[in-house]
């Protein structure tokens, strides 16, 4: 007699998902991760819209990743229309992406994951059980949001970034205030990383397969034209040919489409970036060095610590970006001139949860005729299912509530963003 264990809904994640485990006797027969976010058919919403409306619409695909979606979308449009942007515009975009990462990582670490470390159901209980840690996390999170609000005009769904430039640049004194705030939270970020390096994880040490990591690599700045998708087992391709590496398939139990690299299950996100050697700022490089034995070649349970390292990096990177911006004159130069023509543009960036790709086809009036968006959670879906299977198998016979708790913790380690993943693609 088999029985089915269902976790519905998955809690403390962004979006609607469920996990279904079919167990026969002491054997796990199958594990299904269902991403059941209601499909909003974003691809169909974009088709027929002019290029300048695309970033405004598509950032609504997801709240936590809205800044990086906005910037990726702008880059894809600018690639299609061959628009160059000024250095300050490029720097502001890097800054808002870093701010989004600070906000997203600290939300995940302190509001969604940390309750597991303090035997709490959620942030409300955590606020009484570990008030100091919780408040530290919220301070860091607030600094990330300050960046997004100052550069983007609001905390979620930034408005200030448009094709070819910006609406208005932040005033110098506001940049300086932001810099001070970031300097203040830098020690908090270092402390946060130490917390996740020393706190024992409650996740069962099942025999997880170390993932094949995937990340976007570029020379240095986000405006760099040459970007590659690379994997830890030596595959790589120019981002414009991403479909050769990441063919997508529709799976019946999920509204998200799955992606595998060359038929192989890959994982993206903070842990993958660190393993593939992203450039780190000085204090984050030190933190990475100190924790390398826990991070290099590690399974996804180490992703939480990897996010801690990146938290330091993003704060330091933001301070450095502001320093560079303060050297530029504050006046806004006119936006780059636009010549509308037909074209195809692809852009890839590292979102907090991993590789994010946008691709648009525009007709000769600049109207979108096809759109494709590959999100990190869609890429991670296959790896999540594989690891859930390994964990459920390792825990057969455990009581149901503990099994559920463990499976949820594993899903959380991937930091899934289900509203992003349930998008809509046509190739």
């Amino acid at each position: 007699m088999g029985n089915v264990l269902e976790i519905k809904p998955l809690s403390r994640v962004e979006g609607h998902g469920t996990v279904k485990v079919s167990i026969a006797g002491r054997q796990v027969e199958s594990v299904q991760l269902n991403l059941i976010e209601s499909p909003r058919l974003f691809e169909a919403l974009l088709v027929g819209k002019p290029y300048d409306e695309l970033p405004e619409i598509i950032c609504r695909i997801c709240s936590i990743c809205s800044s990086v979606h906005r910037v990726t979308s702008l880059q894809a449009i600018e690639a299609a229309l061959c628009i160059g942007i000024s250095e300050p515009t490029a720097l502001y975009r890097e800054l808002i992406v870093a701010g989004g990462q600070i906000e997203s990582h600290s939300l995940h670490l302190f509001c969604l994951v940390l309750p597991d470390y303090f035997d709490s159901a959620g942030f409300a209980e955590l606020a009484t059980k570990a008030p100091a840690e919780f408040k530290t996390g919220l301070r860091i999170k607030a600094a990330g949001n300050r960046i997004q609000e100052l550069v983007g005009g609001r905390l979620i769904h930034p408005a200030n970034l448009v094709p070819g430039g910006m609406g208005k640049r932040p005033a110098r004194d506001e940049l300086k205030r932001l810099r001070d705030e970031l300097l203040e939270v830098l020690p908090d970020a270092v402390k946060a990383c130490e917390l996740f390096a020393t706190c024992p994880t409650h996740l069962h040490p099942a025999n997880f397969t170390p993932p094949t990591y995937l990340a976007v690599q570029s020379d240095d700045s986000e405006s760099s034209p040459v970007k590659q998708l690379v994997t830890s087992n030596g595959q790589g391709t120019d981002i414009t040919r991403y479909r050769e590496l990441l063919p997508e398939q529709v799976v019946p139990h999920s509204y998200a489409k799955q992606s595998r690299a060359g038929g192989e299950i890959v994982a993206v996100g903070a842990l993958s970036r660190l393993n593939l050697g992203i450039q780190l700022s000085s204090r984050s490089a030190q933190a990475f060095f100190d924790a390398r034995s826990q991070l290099l070649g590690a399974p996804i349970s180490a992703n939480v610590l990897a996010q801690g390292v990146e938290l330091i990096h993003s704060v330091e990177q933001s301070i450095a970006l502001i320093d560079t911006l303060l050297d530029h004159p504050a006046t806004c130069e006119p936006r780059a001139p636009l010549h509308i023509h037909e074209g195809i543009g692809t852009a890839a960036l590292e979102a907090p949860r991993g590789v994010l790709i946008h691709r648009y086809e525009l007709d000769n009036r600049g109207i979108c005729i096809a759109a494709d968006i590959v999100t990190p959670t869609a890429i991670n879906q296959a790896a999540m299912e594989r690891d859930l299977y390994a964990l459920a198998s390792a825990l057969t016979g455990t009581d149901e509530s503990e099994l559920k708790r463990q499976l949820e913790m594993l899903v959380r380690a991937y930091d899934p963003c289900i509203s992003c993943a349930v998008h809509v693609v046509r190739i």
């Binding site: 809690s11 499909p39 169909a44 088709v47 405004e56 709240s63 159901a121 959620g122 409300a124 708790r405």
Partner: protein
């Protein structure tokens, strides 16, 4: 003293309204003290929808049978039901193409017969249940959320401005993007409360807070047509967050 019990739920949406709650970093520890977050799956793994709620804040539009089930449950168990954010109040981005065939859109995305079934055109909450209060915006403003929660603690509800974004924009002395630059700014017909965030950074209002009471829609349309913007473009922009404008309405 018993604490008010809250349900915070998301239907078809981006989770941005719920994130707005978690973005109240300075106030979150106090909120955790004053309220019992009984049902809030995004924020807690103990989520009980079986009890009674002082208030339910519901994000998102209704587009699946599951959405509808959650909504009806929350309505029947809550003293006050708050439509939280533009999708819940007006339909939002997911509803902008409601005039097109949903079947054709689904097929264009997932292929013929391959897509998920059972979903329908996204609708605002008031299409199905009585809504007691609304917090507009995509995203909603933190201060409007906090004002609402503070009022709930005192057993009342706040009053939000009933004037258009233009009023706030003029108060801030921003350049008028519609008159001075001829851009299709939707400030004149959009509900205020955001302190004209977008025009303040020289970005035209996209109408994310939905229609203001007694919006002079026909007049806005006339002005924009005079500025040489096509009717098609104006209507497409207006539909972005609310697909059911009455284009002939005059205040």
């Amino acid at each position: 003293m018993t604490r008010p019990t809250l349900a915070i739920a998301g239907l078809t949406a981006c989770f941005g309204c719920q994130l707005t709650l978690l973005n109240c970093e300075a106030e979150l520890p106090t909120l955790a003290e004053r309220f019992d977050f009984t049902y809030f799956p995004m924020g807690s793994s103990r989520h009980d929808i079986g009890g009674e709620f002082s208030a339910a804040l519901v994000e998102g539009s209704v587009s699946t049978p599951d959405d509808l089930e959650t909504l009806v449950k929350l309505r029947s168990r809550s003293r006050i039901l708050v439509a939280f954010g533009t999708c819940a109040c007006w339909g939002g981005v997911a509803a902008m193409n409601n005039h097109l065939s949903r079947e054709a859109m689904t097929e264009s995305v997932y292929g013929k017969g391959a897509g998920p079934t059972g979903s329908f055109n996204p609708c605002p909450l008031h299409r199905f249940v009585t809504v007691d209060f609304s917090i507009n915006g995509c995203p909603p403003e933190k201060h409007e959320l906090l004002t609402t929660l503070a009022a709930l603690l005192h057993g009342t509800l706040p009053v939000f401005p009933q004037y258009p974004v233009c009023t706030e924009c003029r108060n801030r002395e921003c350049l008028c993007l519609l008159i001075e630059r001829g851009e299709p700014c939707l400030g004149p017909i959009t509900q205020a409360g955001c302190n004209a965030r977008c025009p303040a950074v020289s970005i035209k209002c996209e109408g994310c807070r939905g229609p203001v009471t007694e919006a002079n829609v026909a007049s806005e349309l006339e002005v924009l047509l005079e500025k040489g913007i096509s009717r098609e473009e104006v209507i497409r922009r207006m539909r972005r967050f609310y697909p059911e404008w009455d284009y002939g309405q005059r205040s």
